[in-house]
Amino acid sequence: MQALYFVLGIPLLGSVVLAGCGHRGFARDVNVGFSLGTFVAACVLTAAVISGGPLFAWQHEFFIDPLNVFLVTLTAFVGLTTAIFSRPYMRVEEQRGKMTPPRLRLYHSMYQLFSFTMLLALTTNNMGILWVAMEAATLTTVMLVSVYRTAASLEAAWKYFILCGVGIAQALFGTVLLYMAAEKVIGAEGGALLWTHLDAVKAQLDPDIITLAFAFLFIGYGTKVGLVPLHNWLPDAHAEGPTPVSAVLSGLLLNVALYAILRFKVLTDGALSNQLAGHLMMGFGLTSVVVAAFFLWGRRDVKRMFAYSSIEHMGLITFAFGMGGPIATYAGLLHMTVHSLIKSAIFFAVGHATQQAGTQLMAEIRGLMKVSPTVGWGLMLGALAILGMPPFGVFASEFLILTTAMREHAWATPFLLLALGVAFAAIFARVQPMVFGDTSLQPLEHPPALLPVFVHLGLGLMLGLYIPPYLDEWYRQAARMIGG
């Protein structure tokens, strides 16, 4: 319980401290320090939940169960490694004049505030606060995306703000409707927006209101997940912001938005006897997978390409959760983890590569293997891992999702296979020349931080070969809760 306050308090304090000194040379290390503190607190919290079961805090306003504690740890971990990656990255950007001291201060402060909003969204039990935290996360990432102040980054940030603002307003309407349904059962005083209370009475919630509420909530949070056709903001925001921001957007923000949908899915499934939530998620998920896979073709900007790959994978995860059942849900959770790890590792490698080349155009990034073999290997292995090559974890989860789809929803299998094949061809054809061949690129002024890349890839590899028993148990518990 103490650990929870540290998990939320450290990043909040960090944002205040870095708002004061974020432009100094040591701020990069302070940023890593705060992220490390958050990660340690998250580990302690996880240990407490594993040994003691779900816990509440602050008059049931916070609630930790196997589902969100695993995401809290993942969020804190990726937050830490991204902070480590951003140290040399931002030094190079500063030397090249792209980051000035005020921008660095803004960047560091917003980075910590972003971590805070993510963790708040994950740990809160109040569905209204969940909305507030998601909106605050949008605001902080808008600042992060626009930090370069170039025409393109302003455009991306504006688009992001307006599209996600509209999307999340729909989610607020859904939350209002949910509250209306809950108030009839629980009463206005009894914490009618607390998820655990709602979960206890979900069978009594009015089906008509819940149907409409879920539709609005799904569209709202689905915009933030980047589901097609609500995905327009995502490639721009990924491509035009600094690369550490792309890594946390793909690795964390999309997960947290999907987490919100999962919470509402549990309530909706309890209130309705039909499979509305599941069918919506399957439909949107499958559309995202297929459309994003075809959009991968013809991309010239490397970050944009991997942003489309994120849409594809989020679609796949949404599809898996939509199918429901213990196996598909387990696979969805596993895929969430490995996608988050591998995709951020790819963005780390891509970040160093684009700095070496001075451009994000793939045609001008050549022969990474020669100039810095570690970046080249990182990108190559990362690309293979995200494409679902064994023995990486993505293979395991995609295999589970595909086999479940074949058994239960055979009609979807050809679409999935087609999309995965198209994505493979598109990404592999692009990455291969970037990594091999001759080059005129120069090594970076500062040694890149490659530890995070290989730690992430290593974990992704481990999850493909062997899932530790406690992690396995954890996924099972969470899967039972969501998938029924």
């Binding site: 909305w131 605001l139 025409a151 455009e155 509209v166 307003a169 509250y179 927006l193």
Partner: protein
């Protein structure tokens, strides 16, 4: 007593809808801000009245918050922005105004259709107004789509927030206080960020036309 207040609430709801239509048809930015302020004031009156009728003191607080934010602070900020940027006209809309109005009427019918099964279940005295609230949200959404300049888009965004607040009051007598405070904070921070953005967009493009922000095509 209840009969009269019920009528008054319906009147305020109708006013909100009328103002939403007025905003769609308005081309001048200054008038747009005035209409937005008026909409905020109507919302405050409606919230306070519901609070009085139903004896829910927290609605007074919510009304006060709305007043400070939507009637005083945000209009003042918007006036400052347009004076500093010297944009008083929003000459073009992307679709002409009569067509937009017709689409708007369609949206109102759609919202009443969507809201009717739910209104029937509502036990509050404002049950007829949920459809209007949804209509306000969708009309503001329409305004955001059809405007090509930054300031009207932002006003559309804020008007949508108004519609959502009205929905919360009409469906459930307002959200829990902590949530309402959080929402107000988000709106305030959001508008500040957007204000800063407008200056930066102007600096970059020498114009606040959002159509400049369309260079990020698919490569």
């Amino acid at each position: 007593m209840n009969g009269y207040s019920g009528q008054f609430i319906n009147l305020f709801a109708a006013l909100l809808l009328l103002l939403a239509f007025a905003m769609i048809s308005q081309r001048r930015i200054v008038s747009l801000i005035k209409l937005f302020t008026l909409q905020g004031a109507t919302l405050v009156a409606a919230t306070a009245l519901v609070g009085y009728v139903t004896q829910q003191p927290h609605l007074y607080l919510s009304a006060a918050l709305t007043f400070a934010l939507k009637v005083v602070l945000i209009p003042w900020l918007l006036h400052r922005v347009i004076n500093r940027l010297n944009v008083r006209w929003d000459v073009e809309t992307l679709i002409n105004i009569p067509t937009t109005m017709l689409v708007g009427i369609g949206l109102v019918m759609l919202s009443f259709y969507l809201a009717s099964p739910i209104s029937a279940l509502s036990t509050t005295i404002m049950r007829g107004t949920l459809g209007i609230a949804l209509a306000c949200v969708l009309l503001s959404f329409l305004m955001m789509i059809t405007r090509s300049k930054a300031v009207p888009q932002v006003i559309g965004f804020l008007a949508m927030e108004n519609g959502l607040f009205f929905a919360a009051t009409s469906a459930t007598y307002g959200m829990p206080m902590v949530v309402e405070l959080g929402i107000a904070l988000d709106v305030l921070v959001g508008i500040l960020i957007l204000g800063v953005f407008m200056f930066q967009i102007r600096e970059q493009f020498d114009s606040l036309d959002i159509r400049h922000l369309e260079s990020l095509k698919e490569d």
